[in-house]
């Protein structure tokens, strides 16, 4: 009787698995978002269940699901990337990968039975839990309500101070709930709170947040329509194929898939990995793991707020830093190596350190890996620079330029325009010192713990993290002092070093959590609550610093792409009337052009190709635009471009947020042949004809 029931259940599951798989792939041609989302969800859950059911090592359900998700995500990404690099991103490739995975999953007959969730009956804590959920929903609703198409420097301009109080009190409530509940419901609340913390810009900026995501989306759009991007390169492939394939299978707008990939993925993967690592790796009590997993909120979470290739690897790195605390079996090691390979195909800057970190913890030759950690990234950039046609490395003593390295750690928000209010200086102290504070806490605690046997961590748990952090920091030193990046504007030269420092900072978080839990064990409940208040305040600071800011300290954040930018790029295309033209504008308008037209036009001149909109990351046109603005809208600058490149029309664009815009506009009206205004008069376009 039992066997019959099992057979029926297995047949039912097979029907769901294969049915959803066929519907999912058929949706490439049907192109219905409803079918795509429903069939896609059913298929994803089915293969996830099947992968998670493979348990030969007695792992917990959550651990199996976490590794199954990482395994499937990386495997799909890798198979598609390799297939794409060898051929193109064709429907045949996508169908093959989906059906192969379905076939592999259908062989699994044992499924995981989720245990019923028991709910804590404490009236007070239940009420607080409800308030926490409602509070997060309130923040998200406020963000939806303030969604804007205007050019905006900071999402915080749309909110009042109370939103930070709200976030702070929710954080406090969450810590108390995690401490008080006997069930694991607080895990769900933490995931929701994490999602709230990292999704503000994705909601508020209706046209799109940032600049780089526009460039990557343009590339993905090209990949979806053409099946390949020329020249094919390993860099970024992981993200491009993943976003493009999800779009093709679900028929959701590519922009939606792209914008939400990192925030949604991170809000599930990072908190649950942190919990699992602390619980099963450091052997904390459940209550302690639930509370101290909130260390993931302590650093600014900017890289988790928008999708670009580096940020995908950042999410994986963040999760793996915690998962490596576990006592892993050989299959789990294999999955983590697979994850690192996918990360390398997405962005090697953090993909390679991820591979080194995994190898180091796995027990490979530590000295060798530490040396690899020092040389690998500089070596990659030597190769990159040589490929880009610039000197691979500056052959001068890096200690001469040590200032460039030290600059990475100072407070850059200093200015002499007015006295900065002390309260703002105090708030920004968080940003400058938080990593050092956490590091100091972890080191001092580990020294204290050395005397107390129960607190002590084994060398094997600590050494790999310390060694990899030290070797990567030396790599950052070399990177910041010895390299010049051809395609990166001067004020962005330190960008790669800063990104690495952000990732290195993550390595301290597990130890902060561990020692936080250990040291608060002996404290009274009241003292613990006091610590929770401090943690909630720090979480709120991190929330504020997770997005661009416009305040008395930070005066010049960039401005987002607006609806007017989109309007203007179409207007210019119309008034050009089919003539070949070049546009010199702020990079955000170039981003709008990439969104609307993709990489449509290249102007060829002197054996070089110029994208028809100026970009700070490509070619000289952007530098010429800056010259034009600095030289009071001088026509000579434009003449040199127009005549040198040989286009019929050159357009310049001045925004209302350009400093000295009134003066520049008046000057440009004199030097240009004609000018046009946007409907709301916030942008003026100048035409120079040849």
């Amino acid at each position: 009787m039992q066997d019959d029931n099992n057979k029926v259940t297995n047949v039912r599951r097979s029907v769901v698995l294969w049915g959803s798989a066929f519907l999912f792939v058929a949706n490439i041609w049907i192109a219905s978002a409803v079918i795509g989302v429903v069939a896609g969800t059913a298929w994803a859950v089915s293969i996830l269940n099947a992968a998670a059911s493979q348990d030969r090592f007695g792992l917990s359900t959550l651990e199996r699901y976490l590794f199954a998700s990482l395994f499937l995500g990386s495997l799909i990404g890798l198979l598609l990337s390799i297939g794409y690099l060898l051929t193109s991103l064709s429907s045949f490739l996508i169908v093959t990968v989906v059906l192969l995975l379905t076939l592999a999953s259908s062989r699994s007959r044992s499924f995981v039975h989720m245990r019923a969730i028991s709910i804590d009956r404490s009236y007070l804590v239940n009420t607080l839990s409800l308030l926490v959920v409602l509070g997060d929903l309130m923040i998200l609703t406020l963000a939806v309500g303030t969604r804007t198409t205007e050019a905006l420097s900071s999402p915080w301009l749309m909110f009042g101070t109370p939103v930070f109080l709200l976030f702070g009190f929710i954080s406090l409530g969450l810590l108390v709930i995690a401490d008080q509940r006997r069930d694991d419901l607080s895990l769900v609340l933490t995931v929701i709170h994490f999602f709230t913390a990292i999704s503000i810009s994705a909601i508020v900026f209706e046209v799109g947040f940032g600049f780089d995501p526009f460039v990557h989306r343009a590339a993905e759009t090209e990949l979806v329509s053409l099946g390949s991007i020329e020249p094919k390169q390993l860099l970024y492939t992981g993200q491009y194929v993943l976003v493009s394939v999800i779009q093709k299978l679900t028929a959701l707008p590519l922009k939606v898939v792209d914008i939400w990939l990192v925030p949604v993925g991170a809000s599930v993967l990072v908190p649950l990995s942190a919990y699992m690592g602390l619980l099963r790796g450091f052997k904390l009590k459940k209550r302690e793991a639930r509370v101290w997993m909130h260390t993931i909120f302590l650093l600014p979470l900017m890289p988790l707020t928008f999708t670009v290739p580096f940020n995908i690897t950042f999410v994986l790195f963040f999760a793996v830093v915690f998962l490596l605390l576990l006592k892993l079996n050989k299959i789990q090691w294999g999955i983590l190596y697979l994850v690192s390979l996918f990360a390398i195909l997405t962005h090697p800057l953090l993909g390679v350190p991820l591979l080194l970190l995994i190898s180091m913890v796995h027990g490979w030759n530590r000295k060798l890996i530490a040396i690899a950690g020092i040389v690998a990234i500089p070596l990659m950039f030597v190769v990159h620079n040589l490929g880009a046609g610039v000197d691979g490395v500056a052959f001068i003593n890096p200690f001469v330029r040590v200032g460039l390295f030290l600059n990475l750690f100072i407070d850059p928000y200093q200015h002499g325009y007015f006295d900065i209010p002390q309260v703002w200086e105090a708030i920004y102290l968080y940003r400058t010192w938080i990593v050092w504070l956490l590091l100091g806490f972890a080191i001092s605690s580990s020294l204290l713990a050395a005397a107390k046997q129960p607190f002590r961590l084994s060398k094997n748990q600590v050494c790999p993290y310390v060694l990899i952090a030290a070797s990567l920091m030396i790599a950052v030193f070399l990177l910041s002092t010895m390299f010049v990046f051809k395609d990166i504007i001067w004020y962005e030269q330190a960008e790669f070093s800063l990104r690495l420092i952000q990732a290195i900072s993550l390595l301290v978080l597990p130890f902060v959590a561990y020692f936080g839990a250990m040291r608060s064990r002996a404290l009274s409940r009241s003292m613990r609550y006091l610590i929770f208040i401090v943690v909630a305040v720090v979480m709120t600071f991190a929330f504020y610093f997770s997005y661009p800011r416009l305040d008395p300290k930070s005066l010049t954040p960039g401005v987002s792409v607006s609806a007017v930018d989109v309007e203007i790029v179409h207007m210019i295309d119309q008034i050009a009337d089919g003539d070949e033209y070049i546009v010199l504008s702020s990079q955000m308008m170039s981003a709008a052009a990439l969104q609307e037209f993709g990489f449509r036009d290249y102007i060829e001149s002197d054996m070089q190709e110029y994208l028809w909109y100026a970009l700070p990351t490509g070619g000289v046109l952007y530098q010429e635009f800056l010259s034009y603005l600095n030289m009071d809208a001088d026509r000579d600058v434009i003449d040199q471009i127009g005549e040198g490149i040989g286009v019929l029309k050159v357009y310049t664009v001045i925004h209302h947020y350009t400093p000295d815009n009134s003066y520049l506009i008046e000057e440009a009206k004199v030097t240009a042949d004609s000018w046009y205004e946007s409907a709301n008069k916030s942008v003026v376009v100048f035409e120079y004809s040849y």
Binding site: L124, G135, L165, L172, V176, F395, F483
Partner: protein, 130 residues
């Protein structure tokens, strides 16, 4: 005694739950009632439109490709007067002279030549222990 302890801890929990709950309700009400002024109004006064932040790379925030780790901008250190063409990261690089490159290679050679000796010493020590 046991009863007293339980009562005491229960009170502290009630207090903290009460504080958090009241905080969420009041802050949510205040956030909902926010009329778009206050913080944003004041913040707008600090922006480039108010005349601050000029003199930087025209129109574009120094150290900032919006969306790419804004907030981590080492290019505006204290006392720095940025502007177009101001030497920044990498721009001030002085190309190495052939002599410098030669010296660098010689140093590398030196290290390389010393390596076998180090190895030999290590072997010798191991031999001694045996």
């Amino acid at each position: 005694m046991a009863v007293q302890t339980r009562t005491k801890t229960a009170v502290s929990t009630k207090v903290i739950v009460g504080v958090a709950a009241a905080g969420i309700i009041i802050a949510a009400a205040a956030a909902g009632a926010f009329d778009g002024k206050g913080f944003s109004e004041r913040a707008r006064n600090f922006g480039p439109a108010a005349g601050y932040g000029q003199g930087y790379t025209p129109g574009y925030a120094p150290g900032y490709t919006p969306g790419y780790t804004p907030g981590y901008q080492p290019s505006t250190p204290a006392g720095y007067t940025p502007g177009y063409g101001t030497p920044g990261y990498g721009v001030t690089l002085v190309p190495a002279t052939p002599e410098q490159i030669r010296a660098q290679i010689m140093r590398l050679k030196e290290v390389w030549n010393r390596a076998p000796r180090i190895r030999k010493q290590k072997d010798y020590k191991e031999y001694q222990y045996k």
